[in-house]
Symmetry: D2
């Protein structure tokens, strides 16, 4: 979902480049995990399809990202044929504004697309990864808590019961595909969808990929705790360009993202830390994302001290290999018969589903332990 | 050792303030460990003595630190009597320039001081903590590898076989005291002294307290590794005032410190990372220490990214509670019958003795596991 | 106005300390200007009075600032008598919430206070400096453009025609005092008040003291222009504690401050620069104010580059000597017969009255030229 | 001189791109000066030749810089023919290691190359710009102070009297060309060469192009002075890759650069500022240069404050347009009959020849005034 966005385009280009041996798998966590690699799909085993509401072809998108400094020109040229082949597998996504008729029809169409993709490519399993633009939180409805109520409401052509991310998640689960939410959008967090995942014996993971500022926060915050230092404030500012910046410039859209970030910090340090947080759209930064954090803390005998950091990264270059990792790991979990939220994948997310563990080092260990056991039961 | 320096003065002032209930134990790790507290000496159980080569009374030193913003004036006033009482327990330290006669005589004098202190205060155990100024590395001698050769050489009034830190360590071990090296000085790293610790069934810990830049490095570096990101350079600059800055402005003295810092980074990231590192004396910063680190790293498809941080801290305020923690923990280990280097205390050190583990999160876990077992065998 | 706030308390304490020879005039621009010093009031010539709506005595306020690290304890002790003497000269300020009756009565009371203060202290001139909390912008009224309409409206007990800052400015001008606006509040910017200043032949200066982030901006922005570099974004985040932080945490109050800052940047660089700007209240920072700015710019052949800076200052320590400078300079201008906005004092302000010159180096030159001519005509 | 280095390659590529209308003249100061443009050579009027000791063709060098992100690939492709044409004008430079025979022969060869270039291209004037790698300072010799002694010494095949930069400067002046030193190398600073410039009625300018950290320093330092703030320390660290980094990693080579930087700061702030400064070679940064500066300063009543900045730039992208500017301006000064050091060009240099003015705003004004008068006397 969002197959022509910056993250997806980078992930697809990178997958093709890895297959062709053009690049090393820098940033791919599955390549360094101590794991039985036979349980993971190899790069060559993965077929890529997807949905998107924009129609710019993938090879054009990749050229745009090369101009922005994110992907080498030489790589884009080398895999252009592959990009066009993937583009032929992409289908039109769901958007409430362009859709007419009941939402159930949209779910059915997306479900069919996924099933056809699986059949056409003769695949054992499909993992649907949501890398669309962030949606705002939605108000809770009674239909969100009950699959039967939900099914009935989706048939009503007058109603828009689910946000687009949840329409996609519902289609994935209905098609028997596992699901990964790389965004803070509602997606699978609608309780009825989690129920459906259990009923269909499907695993899922999320939410909101942890790629920059939050990654560093979940590394640094436990340091203060371990050393019994008293964090008094933790302020953050994010400057981002690209589509993400434009989308998150809208305070409504940004709310989900800000809440997801704030929840993690509060979990790590408690609620009494002053933690103002901003996201600004700075279009001229292109695909770069710059974050500045300032932490003031108190030490022995009341000494006032501070730590500040600036992160200057390409969000899509950080996210893309994780998307590939998640596709491999969730597929392996599916093959392993695991169902429900995969807490062991908290390592990848700002707002992990299935666990409250935000400390990165603990998440790293959870992932390593889980990966080491994958396939061991066979 | 170094009982009138900034770290010791802060630790002693803080201990008196904790006993008087004037401050909370911020920065004291033993207060937040999940540990059987009956195995640790309580604040009230600890008597403080020490050696130093300077004679400024402790209460004057504490006033100086209050003027520098490190300790509240009100605390210094409230514990002034206590500081004077501790000062009466301090004895003249060893310095090669002022000493005449064989080094063995200095060892004997310091040993006697420690034994007298233990007897006078009716103590079960003594922990000697080295918080003197950093010494340069010393060339290896055959006498450093053999206790008997060493003993003979120490009797020679013409020779200076051991640096001051090792003279102190030898006295501690001879007096049956355990030993902590909070500096990168040679101290107990002379092989014959480690042998003596084993022979006398004494535990020890070190080396070089991890309080600022290196603390952050050992937290951040494992993040890059866990995410398979390729760190290409890690540059660091340290600005420090106080006596530490003046001492480390001498490149010879700084060498030990720089080597200790560089070793840790190489262990975490490998040797192929460009890692220039500087220590500058900026006297006007007083007791503050400011470090700037710039990390450049490569991500997926060769994307160039960076992280930089600035740490602005009071080194003594960070070190002092750790000195109290170490005194408690090493005393407990001594009571528990442990001998040799305490690898589980790597958490506290830049260059841990007894282990090569530099990752802070792993060190935190090692400490927690060890602390949980302390006293459990009784 | 605001005589018991942090800025005023620091200025008054500093003036007393300068008189007593306890400190050097660091930060006092008038002490380094090439000026005929006979035209400036000497430190000993200045008497201090004032209005405030809070009643905490000045010596208590000064002790609070000493605890926050802003003023040395020793200075506060040494000038405590002087602070109490000044406190006896302070009168209750005007606040719309506590006032009853027509605003004209408030103006009359404040005017009388100023006149009495001048008579009681046998002063040649009075300069009223507004260092109260920032007020939000006010909607324009027809009465703001016409002194007679304004006078009539002020008699209406049902109306609140002027914000508190303008009530104070009106009282100052009515009493024959010159006026300085160190805040972005409406103050003398109401057109009818500017008219009154001209009619009463009084000089005034403002607005919004330039003490930190904006000071650096007006120094750096002309560098990019002079070098023909193309600034594409200039993002800023301000973290502030103290009363200022609490006040500006209210978006309505902050609006004036943010508009004042943004106006200057647009004037320097044009309107096509993306310039998000935030002010956050971080109470635990106390009297400190921390600003981070990130500037992205384009060079030859489209090269993308950046400059970022972090400013860590005590706003009151930066503002207080400028308040003393302004009192001296505006008094000298008054004696010199100058009337209306003093454009040559743009050096001191974020939003200078009487000129559009924001470049700090040009402002420095304007001030130097003007100061050199002060008194030269006599 | 240094015609195939990064700066020269960028300048030549940019000049060709400007002529072709492919890019805007961002970073070109002459394009925004208020100047009679008829006195300046137009982009189309400039022919490029040069000397270098390396033989990689210009078009290959430009491709390398494109891969490093410094120049767009599309520009390099578009001007490749032009680069090859310029490359045909380049001649082998002088290097003491490869040269045999007296230095006078090298001077004669370089002189002839310049004269031939002028004749072949039918040029009115030639400006020689030194953009070679930085040389270490040289010890003063009596021959450096006297043209006749120098001429005699250059004939001695056993001696190396002049460093390479000064050999080039001597050839330029002998050929009747004006000279610009964009490096801190000895170049024209040898007194006898300055004498020759006067004798031959030639203007010259230098030294050491001001493109990054020092540019910002000469902008910020006057701010502290103007505000009477007391700068106590100003620490700097430079991380640079490319050939510059490798060259300056050698402490001997770096000495000239460090001295040039330090001199400026001392001139601006006085000698009592602690100012440690480092240059580190970080090859993986490629053409980027990153500088971090930390300034600690004292304000009113002793308040301790700080400003820190990080500059992240492409040095060649900053230097190249200035090289074009200098060629145009020095050519115009030559045409105008000016001789000796052009103090008005201090704006461009870290260590300006002919003036001690380091304040950037003053330098900007000096340049503007001088440029406005250029040609006015005709």
């Amino acid at each position: 979902m969002g197959a022509r966005g910056s993250v997806a385009t980078t992930a697809i280009t990178g997958l093709l480049a890895l297959r062709a041996g053009l690049v090393r798998p820098v940033g791919c966590v599955t390549e360094r995990l101590d794991i039985d690699h036979s349980v993971l799909p190899a790069w060559d085993d993965i077929a890529v399809g997807g949905h998107d509401i924009v129609s710019t072809p993938l090879d054009k998108r990749a050229e745009h990202l090369a101009a922005a400094g994110l992907i080498p020109h030489s790589v884009v040229s080398a895999v252009a044929d592959g990009l066009r082949a993937v583009d032929a597998e992409l289908r039109c996504g769901y958007h409430p504004v362009t859709h007419t008729g009941p939402q159930a029809a949209a779910v059915a169409r997306l479900t069919r697309d996924i099933e056809d993709f699986r059949t056409r490519n003769d695949l054992a399993r499909v993992v649907v990864v949501n890398v669309t633009s962030t949606e705002p939180p939605v108000p809770a409805l009674p239909e969100h808590d009950d699959l039967d109520l939900l099914a009935a409401a989706l048939e009503d052509p007058q109603r828009t019961v689910l946000p687009a991310s949840s329409v996609g998640a519902l289609a994935a689960l209905t098609a028997g595909a596992s699901y990964v939410d790389f965004t803070p959008s509602p997606g699978i967090k609608i309780p009825a969808l989690a129920e459906l995942a259990h009923r269909n014996r499907l695993p899922y993971a999320g939410a909101d990929g942890k790629t920059g500022e939050t990654l560093v926060r979940t590394v640094l915050a436990p340091m203060f705790t371990a050393r019994a230092l008293n964090v008094r404030s933790w302020a953050g500012t994010n400057l981002l360009g690209g589509g993400d910046g434009a989308n998150l410039a809208d305070p409504a859209q940004a709310r989900g993202k800000l809440e997801s970030k704030a929840r993690g910090l509060a979990r790590l340090l408690g609620d009494d830390v002053t933690a103002p947080l901003h996201i600004d759209n700075v279009a001229t930064l292109g695909e770069r994302k710059i974050a500045w954090d300032h932490v003031s803390f108190e030490g022995f005998l009341g000494a006032q001290m501070s730590l500040q950091f600036t992160w200057d990264g390409y969000d899509s270059a950080l996210a893309a290999p994780l998307v590939l990792d998640l596709a491999r790991l969730v597929s392996a979990a599916h093959a392993d018969g695991q169902t429900g939220p995969l807490a062991a994948l908290a390592f990848f997310f700002k707002d992990p589903l299935g666990t409250d563990e935000h400390r990165f080092a603990e998440q790293t260990r959870m992932l390593a332990d889980w990966a080491a056991r994958l396939g061991a039961t066979e």
